[in-house]
Symmetry: C2
Subunit: 356 residues, 2 copies
């Protein structure tokens, strides 16, 4: 079965496939554009999968295997995203089966990368916050009872906080890595890969799809995005230093205010994939959408890093100096959350995304 995924004829598809766009073909974009996009992404998925296996996906990430895993997630997201947006044009049973499986796969593969990125973000922030003298952190024993603070040296806390975060997030990453490896070896994954291999040559369009126009479905995806953006507190976000992201920063669950932004991030991605289907990946619209999306990626990353800092502060028997450093770090990352909202607001104002 694996042979099927490793078909060398797949290698013609690059990571930025140059598709004939609807405009190049003339007239309104049709289901042909969708089929072409899905075939290219499926081919890219198979290429990435082959690369991942060749570059030793079983060990801890070499640069190549990390790239391959990223390419796998990338194509999996594009397939499930475009299937989601243009679902009425595709066989219903097939879509209903494929979408959740691709979501499971890209979610599982993303976790290891997310742990690593979160750790790097937090260590970089600690480095910035403590000056050059403190890091790299070396694992040290925690001293209960606050002797570190008694010494009057809060900088000790930065190194200890770094070591604590490194332990916790490395453990989480290792677990995520094992889970991803198990997933890639599972019958469930092989079933997904088989489906994608078929998709690379044969897109299950509905009988009526041939004469359908993609535009209304893409417009609906755009409308879901603009509605969600309209519901965001963009006026507040556009006023710098509004201190909104740290409101309730000490309450047990400060993240509910982040959820609408995370949702917009997902809807922006779906909109972007729909534009890729219609205009091709090299369209200037895509570049502008990417910029806005990067602000929301940063929002998500900072939100998760802040949560990780708060979570580490709940570790039993840590020294007060460690807890203090984690508090500073938490607030710093919530500050980053606020900065990312500001950046998104600016980027959203600048581009006429709504009209794109």
């Amino acid at each position: 079965m694996a042979q099927q995924h490793l078909d060398p004829t797949d290698s013609t598809a690059g990571s930025s496939p140059e598709l004939p766009t609807a405009l190049e073909q003339g007239g309104a974009p049709t289901a042909d554009a969708l089929a072409c996009y899905l075939r290219a992404q499926a081919t890219e998925f198979l290429r990435a999968l082959r690369l991942h296996r060749e570059t030793g996906g079983s060990g801890h990430g070499t640069e190549e295997s990390v790239d391959a895993a990223r390419a796998l997630r990338r194509s999996a997201r594009r397939i499930s995203g475009s299937v989601h947006t243009f679902r009425p044009l595709l066989e219903e049973a097939w879509s209903a089966e494929l979408c959740p499986e691709l979501a499971w796969l890209s979610g599982t593969l993303a976790r290891e990368h997310a742990c690593q990125a979160c750790l790097e973000r937090l260590l970089l922030a600690l480095h910035r916050l403590s000056g050059t003298a403190v890091l790299p952190a070396q694992p040290t024993e925690e001293v209960p009872g606050g002797r570190a603070v008694d010494r009057g040296n809060l900088t000790v806390g930065a190194a200890k906080a770094g070591a604590l975060l490194e332990r916790q997030l490395t453990l989480a990453r290792t677990r995520a890595h094992s889970t991803a490896l198990q997933a890639l070896g599972s019958a469930r994954f092989h079933a997904v890969a088989d489906k994608v291999a078929v998709l690379a040559s044969d897109v299950p369009l509905t009988p009526t799809a041939a004469t359908a126009d993609l535009t209304p479905l893409a417009a609906a995806a755009r409308e879901r995005l603009t509605d969600a953006v309209a519901a965001l507190p963009l006026v507040t976000a556009g006023s710098p230093y509004n201190a909104e992201a740290l409101v309730h920063g000490l309450s047990p669950d400060p993240s509910p205010q982040d959820a609408p932004w995370h949702q917009v991030r997902l809807l922006l991605r779906l909109h972007r994939y729909a534009r890729e289907v219609l205009d091709g990946a090299d369209s200037p619209v895509i570049a502008r959408l990417l910029a806005a999306g990067q602000a929301l990626d940063r929002h998500r990353d900072a939100s998760e890093a802040a949560a990780a800092a708060a979570s580490a502060a709940r570790t039993p028997r840590i020294a007060p100096a460690t807890a203090y450093a984690l508090g500073v770090l938490h607030a710093d990352q919530r500050h980053e959350v606020e900065a990312a909202r500001f950046a998104f607001q600016q980027s959203w104002l600048k581009q006429a995304v709504g009209a794109g």
Copy 2:
């Protein structure tokens, strides 16, 4: 001697004395304007001193005695500030003697108010950070060894941090109050008050002052300000969320970067007093200078509040949850420092202070 300060004829001077301005008098502003300003401020000083004594300045602050203390500091700053700027027009020995004594007095009187304002700022921030459920803080015993954190409830730390700050800053305020009372009863103070009482009727101008123009001395004060502002990192400050104020936020002494801003705050005040001498207190220039100055006041207040939070975190045997909350609070106030710099940059750009 005290009788002299309580002369009821002084009561005609309000807190915003309406002086004949240089423009109303026509021509370049002369030493007359300076003499007039100094007499009015000296009169105001004596009025505030009398009020302070009448409203029981010896007890802990009623609203009236707080107002009186503020008015005392206000006029003391104006006298010493304008004497400083226009010193070549005043008797040298007299100025050399008066200025440091007025600085001592206003510094001593300011400390109690500063402690109270710092506590209020920090409790307000804790309230904002923890939602409405946690505060008002009630003094609780610290639990060494992090049992509070073991319960997984970081919000407990907010209440404990509030109680700790309240204890420490209330103690500091009480000490500052005693020091201020001692100062007001001291021979040193009576000597200052006598000098100011004389100033209310007799300004010791130099023999050549009568024909001097105030403009070059005021321009020199403005130039010292614009030079200091030019040395500030205003481009960084004008780019929101630059994270500059929290750089080295975990190092033992993060405040050196604040010093140039504090210096600009003082120079802006000297410039403003010089403009009051030249244009009167109701000039639109003054209002614009006040707005810029308020941003720098906020900068100073947030800087001191951040330092107080960091200092409280060095208290021995505090619970990790308390230390965590103080860390969040510290970062929040450094964020406020950054916000104040941004506000100053915006305000400075808007007004042509340099030309004012």
